[in-house]
């Protein structure tokens, strides 16, 4: 059975504030540890294809008037090394055109070794492309808890299981190629609507 999940390394190998670039399923993905939470982002800039995830990681800088700065370091952006475009690491959306210019975010989960082993053994149920597109269009869809996103109906690629040795004792970073299910409450609203 095909899997949507790929084990990319040990959680302890990626300290807070650090990032790593991994090749998964023939895609280059940047994995970021932001304040202990893990985020994945396609490592190619939608502008000209630069390795975007190698750029500066910066806070959210805005201003209501000349000389007044509001710097929110709880929201992190990666700046493309070629032209400086900023992308929200949590959603993949660009700063200057959040709906029009964005890159694909990936969910990165931390799972214990035993859970990873059983998932690798069992495989994972995957959405059909049609189901995937429906979920991605759902306005209630949340990639990470509390952060709205939009995958623009992209379809998951062909699945191949990662085969790396897993030990039960460690926590692992698992890139999930399928979107997180909408919160239960949001789905209820949709069903009754």
């Amino acid at each position: 059975m095909a899997s949507n999940k790929y084990v990319v390394g040990r959680a302890s190998d990626l300290a807070e504030g650090e990032r790593m670039i991994v090749e998964v399923n023939n895609r280059s993905i940047g994995i970021f540890n932001i304040d202990g939470k893990f985020f994945g982002l396609a490592n190619n800039c939608p502008h000209k294809g630069a390795e975007m995830c190698k750029g500066h990681v910066v806070g959210h800088l805005s201003s209501p008037a000349p000389g007044e700065f509001e710097y929110d370091t709880s929201r992190k952006y990666v700046m493309c090394p070629w032209h400086g475009w900023e992308f929200d690491i949590a959603t993949g959306q660009s700063y200057f055109d959040p709906t029009g210019v964005r890159t694909r975010p990936y969910a990165v989960e931390v799972e214990g070794g035993s859970a990873v082993i059983s998932e690798v053994d069992d495989g994972e149920a995957s959405y059909t492309p049609g189901e995937y597109a429906l979920i991605a269009q759902d306005p209630g869809f949340a990639l990470h808890e509390g952060i709205a996103g939009d995958l623009d109906g992209r379809k998951p690629g062909p699945y191949t299981a990662e085969t790396i040795p897993i030990t039960v004792e460690d926590d692992y970073l698992v890139v999930n190629f399928r979107p997180v299910r909408p919160p239960r409450a949001a789905r209820k609203v949709e069903e009754t609507a």
């Binding site: 800088l61 008037a65 007044e68 400086g84």
Partner: protein
Amino acid sequence: MTEAILVNASQTPLDGTTRNELWSGPVIDVDVHANVPSLDALYPYMSEMWIDWCKERGWKGPNASYAHYPPGSARACRPEWRPTGMMPASNVSLLKEHILDPWQVDNAIINCYYGVDALRHPDWAAALARAVNDWLIAEWLEKDSRLRASMVLPARDPKAMVDEIRRVGNHPGFVQVMFPVRNDQLWGQRVFHPVYEAMVEHDLVFGMHYGGTTDGPPSTTGYSSWFVEDYAAEWQSFAGQVTSLVSEGVFQKFPQLRVSVLEGGFLWVPVWGWRMNKEWKGLRREVPWLDRAPLEIIRDHFRFSTAPIDGGPPALMEKATEWLNSEDLLMFATDYPHAYDDDFAAFFNVIPDSMKPKMMAESARNWYRL
């Protein structure tokens, strides 16, 4: 009543077209000039002290206006508008005869470029600005109800600028403040923000106009040698000032502020804007108050007079005009009495019909609350 006849029309059927044949709707002319005929004409509006100050020194007035508009130059006045024995555009009767009546304008906005900005004497510059403004009120605004005007300010002293806005800003005839495009400092910089605050209080438009400090370099890389360089390449000064006003966040701080670019051309704007939009995406952290693409700010906060047109061959004019990507940006101007070699009829005929009423009057009526 005499009707205005278009000159410079390159297409034979248009040469000699009358105003109503070209456009029978309303017209507002956003850039006509009032020339101070001589320093003596301002004496009735000066205190004894400043009159004596001029006489003691034999001072005849700032020379900046002569540098920007050499009086005998064909550019300074069209032949048909050049009166005998007097300065062109120097009284309201000439303006009525040449523009207000034949163009049948609803309103015309007077810009007086007298070169007050050339003075470095802080008190004299302020006094001369007061005299020019009082002359504009008494000898122009109060003589024809169709007229509105830009006030002039001493450009080197923001406090004096604010004082003058407060002194005459409530006169209903003043709808705008004239800012000569060339200045010691870029107009977007914060030292001038109190001036914009006072302008917003009085609902005055920022009228950026050809001219300004003649002892400052007109280009970003120094002084030019010839008048033609100053005159034909002045758009680079306009571009610098527009870039400054946008980048400094003036419109985030003063969302009500409106800027008219007068005698500055407009076809450089799309090219400038494309570059600015591109750079903003990657450099915006430097100016985080710039909360949207620069061209969007241009559409909300800027209008451009139609003289000069810089339109190129009529065959290419249509495409160039499309680059503006807006029917709202342009406001008609004769630029009386100056003579740009513009083919206004050719330009008028390539713009969309839906844009014509806006360009000829509606945009200006909204912009200046006329």
